[in-house]
């Protein structure tokens, strides 16, 4: 490629095709189109892997790295790999997803490459030589447009909220990458513990039933779990309910919790503080059940019911069971 062609690198650290990956690839694809550049995807696994085969439908080039450290999510292995590749390819932007690893290496990567970094981008676009990022700030009270003036712009995006990648007319190439990912790992991942996740991740859930402080304790959440079952939905909670120990921390949605983008987010006894709204702003539809008609949540809802949840959840579950 000529030196004038810009390159967009998308680093997909988890070799799984899910909503988040699709969104991340979509972001990379669109940015590359905008800049008239090439879209290169970095991922782990062999060049003959199923995942690589799927990804090439959405990228110009796929570079896979068959490394145990990368497959095992050693962050510094990814940091080194992307860094080496980027020094060679000199991309104008590097996009990553919103998983823990990507969030952690984004600032480090930018600094190593002399570039600029940003996180939690809800939109990324090109602005001549620079990259523009749109993100929610001040706990959801404001929206900022930030220009990343140094190159490469390293950005982790709110992947699952982004439009998925389209299938390209011509598939890209797959190449096996050649980087010693395992050299110079100072922080070693030594133990992983995954909680038993029932069903899909919140970030991928299409329907979410969520509860807040207004439920007053852990027991009412059991009703919400039953309701979610009927809807084949996932459960979530506001930070208050998690901090009070009523539900696991992994249920927390909001500024410092999960960011979700379901088709429907049902908020039960949640007031709708801006920090919580930051986590659900990308939902296609928000509905709320709350005794307070002036609760802020209603300003963000498509529909809602002003009623005590105790009077609603049981009958609602029954009726939904009939309808579905």
């Amino acid at each position: 490629m000529s030196e004038d062609t810009s390159i967009i690198i998308t680093a997909v650290v988890t070799a799984e095709l899910n909503t988040a990956t699709a969104g991340l690839l979509g972001a990379g694809q669109r940015l590359a189109k905008e800049t008239g550049g090439e879209h290169i995807v970095l991922t782990s696994g062999g060049s003959d892997s199923e995942f690589a085969a799927k990804v090439k439908e959405h990228a110009d080039h796929v570079i896979t790295f068959d490394s145990e450290d990368l497959a095992n999510n050693q962050p510094e292995a990814w940091l080194n790999t992307i860094s080496v590749v980027s020094s060679q390819k000199k991309p104008s932007a590097i996009l990553l997803g919103n998983d823990t690893l990507s969030q952690e290496i984004t600032p480090r990567l930018a600094h190593r490459l002399g570039g600029a970094s940003s996180g939690d981008a809800q939109a990324v676009s090109a602005n001549g030589d620079t990259i523009l990022v749109t993100r929610s700030v001040y706990g959801g009270k404001a929206e900022a447009e930030i220009e990343l003036t140094a190159s490469p712009a390293v950005v982790w995006v709110r992947a699952q909220s982004m439009e998925p990648a389209e299938t390209q007319p011509t598939s890209g190439t797959i190449v096996a990458g050649d980087v010693d990912a395992s050299s110079d790992i100072r922080n070693k991942l030594i133990e992983t513990h995954a909680e038993e996740a029932e069903g899909e991740r919140l970030e991928d859930a299409q329907i979410i039933v969520s509860g807040g402080r207004g439920l007053g304790g852990p027991e009412p959440f059991e009703e919400l779990v039953a309701l979610a079952k009927v809807l084949k939905a996932q459960n979530a909670a506001s930070r208050a309910a998690c901090d009070l120990g009523w539900v696991p921390h992994s249920w927390q949605v909001g500024q410092t919790g999960r960011k979700v983008a379901p088709q429907l987010y049902l908020a039960v006894a949640i007031s709708g503080a801006s920090q919580h709204m930051m986590g659900i702003a990308d939902s296609k539809a928000i509905a709320a059940i709350n005794t307070d008609p002036d609760a802020p949540i209603f300003k963000h809802c498509q529909f809602g019911l002003v009623e005590d949840y105790q009077n609603v959840i049981g009958p609602l579950k029954t009726k939904l069971a009939e309808l579905l």
Partner: protein
Amino acid sequence: MNSAEATREVLWNISYGWIMYVLLLPTAAIGAYGVWKRYKSWKQGLPAEGRLDNPGKRLKYLWNHALLQRRNLRQRYAGIFHAMIFWGFITLTIATTVVMIDHDFGIPIMRGAFYLYFQSLFVDVLGLLALVGVVLAGYRRWKSKPGRLLYTDEASWILIIGGVILGTGFLLEGWRIVVTNDPWGAWSPVGYATGALFAQFLSNETLAQLHLWCWWFHLVLVFGFLAWAPFTKMLHPLTSALNIYSANLEPIGASLKTIDFDTAESFGVNSLNQFTWKDLLDLDACTECGRCTDACPANTVGKELSPRDIILDLRGWLHKGTDGEFSLIGSSEALESDRLFECTSCAACVDACPVSIEQLPKIVDMRRFQVMEEADYPETMQAAVNSMEERQHPYSGSQFSRTDWMQELDIPHASETDDAEVLVWAGCGTSLVERNQKSIRSLAHLLKKADVKFSVLGRDEKCTGDVARRIGNEFLFESLAKENIENFKKHNVKKVITACPHCFNTFKNEYPQLGADFETVHHSEFLGELLKGGRLKITEASERKITFHDPCYLSRHNGITEEPRELLDGISNEPMTELPRNRKNSFCCGGGGGMSFVDEPSDKRVNHERAKEILATDADTVAVGCPFCTTMMEDGINATKGDKKIEVKELAELLNEVTD
């Protein structure tokens, strides 16, 4: 015989009567030692300002509440029998003194009409009353056994000994009358009848013999009792009187002490020598009556807090002579930290106490230690305190701004106007809790209707610090207070109206301790004045059947009970219904003392308890005068009202409805 010569022979039938004087010595020595021990233990306390000043006022207070037993008589049965015993024994003591003056000092006063009417008749009647009182007391202690009493052997013996002293007294009198054939005997009707009864069966010789034995028995019993008394709760005639004399004569709302943080060695109290001498005297004034615990709203709904047991357990440590190293908090069940933090600071305990013990300030003193020295207190209260530190209001998580209630009301800020008559102070509980915004909007409408020029401080309001002070963070309270006082000075604020009794109390009684100099009025007072002055007119009274829930911080803490009632009388055509527990006897809504910020267990909610009382009346409206009461009672009533139609309305809302 000439009645002017009426008298009796003292020490009749008693030889070796001088032994009595000898026995007086050990009695006095032991008794004095007992009193001295107590006095010494009070002296370890810190100074208490202003408790011995104004002797004229204090003597009057003593007269009313010690001698006339006014507060004690609030509980009819116990008050009456105690008065009978008390006045009876006072009378008998005077009678004995008369004997001493006449017999030992040779001043012939026990003669003639005085002897007949007072020494014989009056004393006999009072003695009988005392005996009847003992019987009534005995019935209560051993038969009906109300829960609030302490059932100790000591208390039973005191009663028995008192009764025996009285009984033997009448026996002695009666037997003397018979054997001496006293011509004036009938002037002592009880003694006379007693003597006559025994004379039916026993000869004079026998009676004289009985009299001799019984006289010494009576003497030893009385002297023994006097020597023993200072080591029991029978010290209370002395200590209760002293305590009532040195009572807090200021409003209850002014009774918390300030701390000099630069010099204080300890913040709050965790050992006896950190209390004041008055606090320690309080402990010895306690007669174990239990009225404080009975009145306590936390205790009433089943929580563990017991003001009586706090006092008695502290008294126990006082008597054991614990030193400055001994940690009081947690030293017994009643002194567990958890229990201290169940208190709503309603002061029902202080108000109920017949002997002027101040339980509430001690609870706050110990809270201060937990909060400021140990940083160990309930998490929800910590969150409220943290919020007051960070954003000067306790409502962490509130979506509201202090100016929300003013939207579209066009009210000038204090800095924008020079001719405002008053400053309207909204307070955190009113401006940051949506339900209460309606109340203050109503107040604003009323003031506009009356053409009152007023201003507000809007976002420049900072929490008065009441919540911080009651939780026990005196440091934060003082820093908030100083900031507010500065701000008021800066804006030249002279008169403040507030609809929140907590803000009202803090401004009126507590800010002056820190240098404030402005007038504060509760809105019920101000609105009343507007009506009386014709600036506000009720155009059409409503038909609401209203009852009034007196806010603790107005009624008990500040003695304001009639102004809200005057307003309500005008507001509705229907006569007001009084709740059983009204005015100073009002039952707390449960919101004070930082408790608004605590999640109570669902079966122990103070507001539900009060709601039940309200629902038992025929009222369709319960009027409130405080933002905490408003939300607490709405929650409580909504949770318990079932089908009954009843609303909670703030005073300003009600008045606004009936004025144009």
